[in-house]
Symmetry: C2
Subunit: 230 residues, 2 copies
DNA sequence: GAGTGGTCTAGACCACGGG
DNA sequence: CCGTGGTCTAGACCACTCG
């Protein structure tokens, strides 16, 4: 009989941390000992501590034992949905307009982050996303047709490159960067804002294995906020 | 006998998704069936599928079963270190300067997000973080002394509010938002940039249970990039 | 070498929620 | 109602790594 859940173990450990019974850097008792104390199976303690370690609250190492993370790293998880869903989630009608679609050799900086040959042409797509006909984001994208040849046959005016890629290249890794930049003349025109306005910028490069799929830079109009929970 | 690890189960499921054997929205076999197929215990399959669901690749519901996520949400994990460590991580020398420290009633917007009484005074701290004596970030912070009374006695010129709070109020939930804004005169002065320059803005409110600990707004100079992995 | 976490198994009961 | 995922147990073996 019992009812000791791993959540209750986690809650108790969190309480001890919050109450300073266990302080940052402290070595806490081993799983076996905690299991005995809580009157549950070791697997239950393991589950609780494992999740806490995953969340950055504990440091665990075989033989060395479990310690309270000396410097609890705050991890923010950002959900990055398909742009269309993000627009619809705000109650607006989503549409998009293709501004440019052409095969061309990318700037050296793009080829560098995508790790492609500097002189090879990639598919270049420029899109403006609209929320109820008002500009929502301006996207400049480079796609490696060598990695996803199917993209060449897609009518991007119907399914945006963003959406097609997410749905058709599901398991990828990548890097994201956020920053701020002044609106250039071109971007300002598409976003219907003033040149020089501060824009939120999201840059992302995704890979399928070691090969780049796409690099994308999104500019959002003044006032845009991206939120996350800690 | 065995050697079927939950990682191998996960890898196989990922392969089937990547190879389109299982497509977005598809219902996949139950744990029992997969365990039989892979020749392992149901708990092993459970572990694999649970982690994949946590990563946003699967949708799982009791009775309804497990489906390939129709819209794989990309989750980016951002590590938010103590500012001092972020500076040191870039190989610079970290220091900070307190610009303002006073008890005062916050603007209505701040009281609102912190859910404090609109007319109660909070601790207001304004800090400039320096990386090798060059401005790294400008921080405007409000702290609820009712939640963390110890802060009143801390010499913030030695330990920054950021650092003290992270080390002394570990277990909280919170909200973060990123955006872009024009540098105001005051911020431009502290960051040694031009008024109107586009700045990356990070706003964060953290809570201890239902009670707010602190609200902070950080402005980073032009060119700052915050990165994450998908 | 030996201690600690990591994982697997086989079986069981439970809780949510679709039909 | 009842199937499916969620979790717990007790025991076992393994793998990493500290001393």
């Amino acid at each position: 009989m019992t009812a000791t859940t791993w959540q209750s173990v986690r809650a108790e450990v969190e309480r001890r941390i919050a109450d300073r019974e266990w302080q940052p850097g402290d070595l806490i008792p081993g799983e076996e000992m905690l299991a005995a104390e809580f009157g549950c199976a070791r697997a239950t303690v393991n589950r609780a501590l494992r999740e806490m370690a995953q969340a950055g609250l504990l440091d665990r190492r075989r033989k060395a034992g479990t310690r309270i993370a000396p410097n609890p790293v705050r991890k923010a998880i950002i959900d990055i949905p398909i742009v269309r869903r993000e627009i619809e989630g705000r109650g607006a009608r989503a549409s998009h307009r293709i501004v440019v679609r052409a095969a061309m050799v990318p700037p050296a900086a793009i080829a560098s982050v995508m790790r492609t040959e500097p002189d090879r042409a990639l598919l270049h797509v420029e899109t403006v996303y609209l929320a109820s006909d008002r500009p929502f984001a301006h996207e400049v994208r480079w796609i490696d047709p060598k990695t996803v040849p199917e993209i060449e046959a897609v009518d991007l005016t119907i399914t945006s490159a963003n959406e097609w890629l997410v749905l058709n290249a599901p398991l990828t890794t990548g890097e994201i960067a956020f920053s701020a930049a002044k609106a250039g003349a071109d971007t300002a025109y598409h976003l219907e804002c003033a040149p020089g306005d501060p824009l939120f910028v999201l840059e992302r490069t995704t890979f399928l294995g070691a090969r780049a799929i796409t690099n994308v830079r999104l500019h959002y109009p003044p006032g845009y906020r991206m939120t996350a929970t800690v």
